[in-house]
Subunit: 511 residues, 4 copies
């Protein structure tokens, strides 16, 4: 009989590219060809999945309640098919250990859609596992733990025991200093679930990359716009969301096309960019709802967007360079062109040359840059990848302006610097929502990775939450300080006087 | 006759590695061998220098007052010998254009020691030259311009004119919005010279690198410690300084040894690390004043520093990992060991293995890590390079604690987050000093470079300035808001209520 | 006026891949794209050809009789279009200087079809040009000069003068020792033209290679078979030949197809191998006369040929391995399969393995290896390339047996070792033919190149010449020794008692 | 009990570079460091040798008479220490299978000095092992087998059986056609041992190369000079030899120096070249007997030898280029300079340039090229490596002329082309010697390897054998044709009327 244990954590569980004679035999039986890399990898994935299912069944034959997790340093779309074999998700993500500060938000925003409790796992090290006698900056540890809470996840901080078996008191004082705060915050986190209204289809489902460039750009843009969003895969139920974003390269099969059409018919809106929406063959848009016809790659690059009207709000009406090549599209009958491209005099080649980088605008209109047809807005450029490359502010603003057309009343609106992250969770059993405000700024202080060292307080942050339900009180928690607020049009507005790193605000609803 | 011009800016003026027959002939006459790369480069440098001298003489034969600058994207020790041919220094440094945010402070802190007016040059582009129709974030442009002011330099913002010759009004509104502020600040910047008390010997003199790792690390540590410092070369006059820092790899020739000994005898102090202080042969320390004997490379790495006492102030008394290999030294008679290394059980090789990274501490003392003999403190590790690699906070603290022993009363002491930069300039003709406080945080928001987007105000910054002279008033300028202050022990103390990006504080001295 | 000169030799005249602005302009005017390598090379060739035409016209404006040659170390199909600008061909070909012993026969056999006098050029060096104070072995120099004579070419032996201007007597004794023999042989060489009955289409026309592998293999096979052959390009008149060989990879356009059909209709025969005969698209044979349908690449390789009957004469009736992959063809109605392939048990892959190299024969018949339809014999394997790779004797024998079917009475038949080369030239003005017998064996004695050192005499060589015309006398020349001979069926037969390196035999025809 | 077998052939027995834990442990016990490649290889060799000893002891415990061989495709100096574990040597050497035609003579000439019966092993394949359904040219198989006989070795011809187990009759007819001849020759080969008077020290002992360039060059030169020689290692007994050759790079330790001095004192002579004779440190000659002092590398290269007198016999008295750089030596008092170098005007560098290759002779004498002191002749150039590179005839002649000074009456003198190989074996029990004359010429007919196809008979070969003993009869065997001969001065002279591939001549001694 298995001794009583709480749970089992199986570490370093990866699919392998194996050519042993058993795998070769298995591939042949499965009609796969062992000399083809893609077949070997598919088979490796299949072997892994079968093993996971078997192992969980075996464990549960002893104790059906025990927790089970198979760790691969990430949770993503490949976990969906074996989710039943897991009791929960653990997102291993040490920002200084190769994951960076973008991995955790991307992974947790997906993992939590798979209907399991989630947990974030960082380490106490300055760098990564095995970095004995190093200490993460305390502000960094705070940020990493509080960000987990803000996403509805539990916390885990890894250490490695000295071989003599002596606990390092300095480490535990460091962790303790943060966990004492977590403990105080816990009542507002227990059982909390994130509230999201935007579904971003994850390119990981198609590329297998853990941090696809379009996901990284979308995460930054939406976080800096304080939107509430999940990453989803194409098997997800879209009905809980109001907007679906298809960033840069989401192919649309027949099945996905049907799902998106139903989503639009049910009142949803879509924001798609660049090659998103093309069929898997990549030569035509799958749905007429997109409002554009695909002609190929844009003939000029870089080209320019001339923002004006609502899509250009906050931007001067002048050309803004787009460094990455757009798709060349034509608006179909009835589609509104929100912004045109302006083309350069010529592409820069050996034959034509201008200055240090690209050729300036000729002032001539080119082809559509941003279009809208009904509830679908389409960007011809890979605008999310662009933002991940070098973060042009105008790219973020164009996306956020487009979202404002599709989602005029977002769940959460917050002022303050774009370094401020804001999320929303619900404790349904407590009949309340929690607004999380996080302000920690990673800086590339050493050449290897970003660090956080300071807590820079910010003050008087104006917040508006679209609750639809009547609110009974607004309080900074756990402190308990009551905030005055105004209700109007299904939303409450209030001002948070001070955010010192992390501040939760409780919105209690009337019964 | 030359038409009346204000000045001449010769662009892209580099020494070349040339093998043309004239250069070959020149090399042979100079006893250099054209097939040897180092000889060709030396000759290229010589040709360049002669040309610069000739060209300036030629220009001045028409107008001795015209300004002259030869641009190579950098100013460094190689400019010293031809400084007379220049009227001033222009530091071309676009942080998003390959220079990064560390280049300007390193270059200006050196250039200003060459006794010429200096000017910082950035661009209005989101990336670099030729990036038509792009716009730098306004906060970034503010930071870059105000940082120039804070270092006693003038401002230059580059643009590139559209070939049609039309000025882009958006660009000039952007620049204007910052230059209007510069104009208001100008009365406190005109004729201002930086006040510094620490001289950091630049490794560039030996390696030719524009951003040597030890310089990058030293710049961050000293800026985060709010110290006032210059980079100097070995020809510099050290007498204006109270401390000289030799970061990680400054060889000490006989002449430099004499200079350093005189500096010590005159009351100066020295902080040296790793291989700094070794003779050019690299096998022995040049001066007995160093207080240590060189034995070679440390036998263990990584090893650990156990901080305690004054050198460990603010750090727990436990092992702290040092990732880079130290020099192995023995303290000579009478030298105080401020911190010992603690060694691991073994070096990690194929033969001995422990966990994911390095081997933990065995608890055994190894060899000196930090020593002091008189006014010389020596770090066995390349602590400045280490800080540039991954910014361990304990490394900065050890250096700052060591500096506190050598410089108990620094010119400027400022609280607030380490993201705050503080500098000091003097307007001798106005009989006043100006404290500059800068708070802008670059973030690696895109994968290509750091951006600054927000101004994050900070409040109630306590400042202490060692003036020695009696102060008559302390005012935030250009606003003119008077601050209350206290004088004691040759210093004044006051609190700056708010820093919104950049704040200057004027200290007027009594006549 | 040009001073009286005999001729002009322009050296090192190559087409260049040039991107200067004049060439760019020229390419654009010609509708070529300068960024495309193939366009640049085509243009370079065109520039060269125009220059050659212009230069010859210029030279001839002074003296229309002067000799003119532009040297590029080779003469090949690219010379045809500018042949008028040349007065003769000089084949620079130093076997030890990178050309090897195969270059000269390949180049001269082509050049002489362009209707100009030809000249072979070797050097007196042990290696190549500029190898001062070295001496070619005398037997090697003999072979190189006498081989020129045997191909109807004149001789040139290059030297390089010592800068002091003194002639090296040893060099001129060496050259003289050979040239004295050439002088004696001259009466039988002056005005002599090669007599050939086989035209081998040169792959150089399609690949630009100077020594294409199929040409190298064909040269060895046909020389070892003592056949009389030229290399020709597709513009050549085929009517003087009785057999055309298309070795391994000669594509057949519509025009070439017509020419070959006319050749067949006029009584010619064709031997083609592997991909020769496919259309330029490469997926079907151009002419039904080939007698085979193209199905793609052979499914097995290596596979085996089972020779039998006439095609296998001299070979045992057992499998013979063919290392290179065949074309997969099916014989069309009425085509005779001269030899089948026998296939191995399986191809050797990771999945099936047998021994050190290839899989042995399964004994199963595969697909046709050699077919004949009318006067066309087709080999499915690249048999000429194969012979160039590793010289399997069975490959040569299969080709020679096939030729015997197409050319039952070749011009020349000679016994003796395969190291013996035999050629035939005609002195029409003298009403006589000359048989050249050459016996020198290059050996890879050093690792860099082949050398010839010895003259190995051979004896009693039986010769048969198909003259059709009645012969009056057969004499060894220049010695004058008369040989007895027999005439029968349009041929004469005689025995050459001794070949010491080179022996000419004169056949005088009756008036 | 072991069933009765004739012998055991262990195939593919190599020393391995192994890092398994057992080998690591073994290395540490042996004081070797597993992370050092040279230590691992030394240990791998040691493991192999121990295993060989153990295995032979084990086999012999069952049957002390059984034959034992461990095959590694070569026999060389590393076999000496384990020779007792072998009953005989088998020299696997397929000329077309990567070994080339030089491997067998080099390997057998060494192996036979280790006092074991030897056997040559080739294959019946056109290329190498596993080349099913291919057939070596019959003349090639003859040469390979008869060459084994000529070196006193037995014959082995490898085949690979078709998996169906059927013997290929064509193969066995091929082998049979040669073996029938071997059978006839056998009475004159059984128990025959090679007779040699020159010992060439093998560079393999120092470099581990199987075909060192100096060995290849020496083999060609001595074979073409019809000398009788062995390759030996430094442990060999030199007393049976009259001359020792140290080709190009044989270092002389103290022990070897003593051995060579004893050899000289006993009447032996030495021919050494280039770096042979230097101490292992490489900066001075080990023995004053060398007659030269080492000054470093020659200042010029290429330089020239001016042959004259006896050393230049057969060569014109003019400069002959030496392509490889000589050692720079000075003749010591009493040493005769047989030939001087003549130096070029300058070395060819970017600074001085002349023509396509090297600079011609300035006519100035440089430094000694060939010296003689007593019985030691020294060549400053790596003349054996030179001959292996590109076979300059003058290099061979200089060596052979030098040998004539040291060995005025060689065992065997043969005229005829240099393609003729001549060896001498003794059948002591029969009281006779056998002269082997071999004439087969490998030609690089395909690009991959040399082939032999023809037997080119040669006639009237004059032979002189220094027998010292009175001869009773001279007969061509096995035919039995008696030759007339003359005896004079301890030698017999006779003429072999015809050599068709291989001819043995029996010299029967009077009792």
């Amino acid at each position: 009989m298995l001794p009583a244990v709480d749970g089992l954590f199986f570490d370093i569980v990866h699919a392998l590219d194996c050519s042993c004679r058993y795998c070769q035999e298995g591939m042949r039986q499965a009609g796969l060809e062992p000399s083809r890399e893609s077949d070997r990898k598919a088979f490796g994935r299949r072997v892994l999945e079968e093993w996971i299912q078997e192992m969980s069944a075996f464990v549960r034959s002893f104790d059906p309640e025990v927790t089970i997790f198979y760790n691969a340093g990430h949770v993503g779309p490949s976990h969906r098919s074996v989710a039943d074999a897991y009791t929960h998700w653990e997102i291993e993500s040490l920002p200084s250990g190769g994951w960076g500060y973008l991995h955790f938000p991307i992974a947790i925003r997906y993992a939590r859609t798979l209907k399991r409790e989630s947990l974030g796992m960082t380490g106490k090290f300055h760098t990564s596992w095995g970095d004995f006698h190093s200490f993460k900056n305390r502000a960094a540890l705070e940020f990493e733990c509080f960000q987990m809470l803000a996403h509805g996840a539990k916390c885990s901080v890894g250490d490695q025991l000295h071989p003599r078996g002596r606990i390092c008191p300095v480490t535990y004082e460091l962790i303790g200093s943060v966990y004492r705060q977590v403990e105080e915050k816990e009542p507002w986190c227990a059982g909390a679930t994130p509230v999201a209204e935007i579904a971003v289809l994850t390119p990981e489902e198609f590329t297998g990359e853990r941090i696809p460039a379009p996901s990284a750009g979308a995460t930054r843009i939406l976080q800096e716009g304080r939107h509430q969003f999940d990453f989803v895969d194409t098997s997800a139920d879209l009905s809980p969301y109001r907007v679906a974003i298809l960033p840069d390269g989401i192919p649309v099969t027949g099945a996905l096309g049907e799902k998106l059409r139903a989503f639009l018919n049910a009142g949803g809106a879509i924001l798609a960019s660049h090659r998103s929406g093309l069929t898997p063959e990549g030569d035509a848009f799958a749905l007429p709802e997109w409002g554009v016809r695909y002609l190929g790659e844009a003939p000029y690059s870089p080209d320019f967007i001339l923002p004006s009207g609502a899509i250009g709000e906050g931007l001067p009406e002048t050309e803004h360079v787009m460094y990455l090549r757009a798709s060349h599209v034509r608006a179909t009958q009835g589609t509104e062109v929100l912004a045109e491209t302006i083309v350069p005099y010529f592409n820069r080649t050996y034959a034509h040359f201008c200055s240090h980088r690209h050729t300036p605008s000729s002032g001539q209109r080119g082809y559509p840059a941003i279009t809208q047809r009904g509830s679908v807005i389409y960007f011809a450029h890979p605008i999310f990848t662009q933002y991940h490359e070098n973060a042009p502010r105008w790219c973020r603003m164009l996306v956020l302006n487009a979202l404002r057309r599709l989602l005029p009343q977002p769940l959460l609106q917050v002022n303050g610097p774009t370094t401020l992250i804001a999320t929303l969770t619900a404790q349904e059993t407590e009949n309340r929502w929690i607004v999380h405000l996080l302000h920690y700024v990673p800086e590339r202080r050493g050449s290897r990775f970003d660090v956080i060292e300071d807590v820079i307080p910010i003050y008087d942050i104006a917040v508006q939450v679209r609750t639809l339900r009547p609110v009974e009180s607004v309080r900074c928690v756990p402190e308990g300080r009551t905030l005055s607020y105004q209700s109007a049009g299904g939303a409450v507005q209030f001002t948070v006087p001070e955010v010192v790193g992390h501040q939760m605000v409780e919105l209690s609803f009337r019964e």
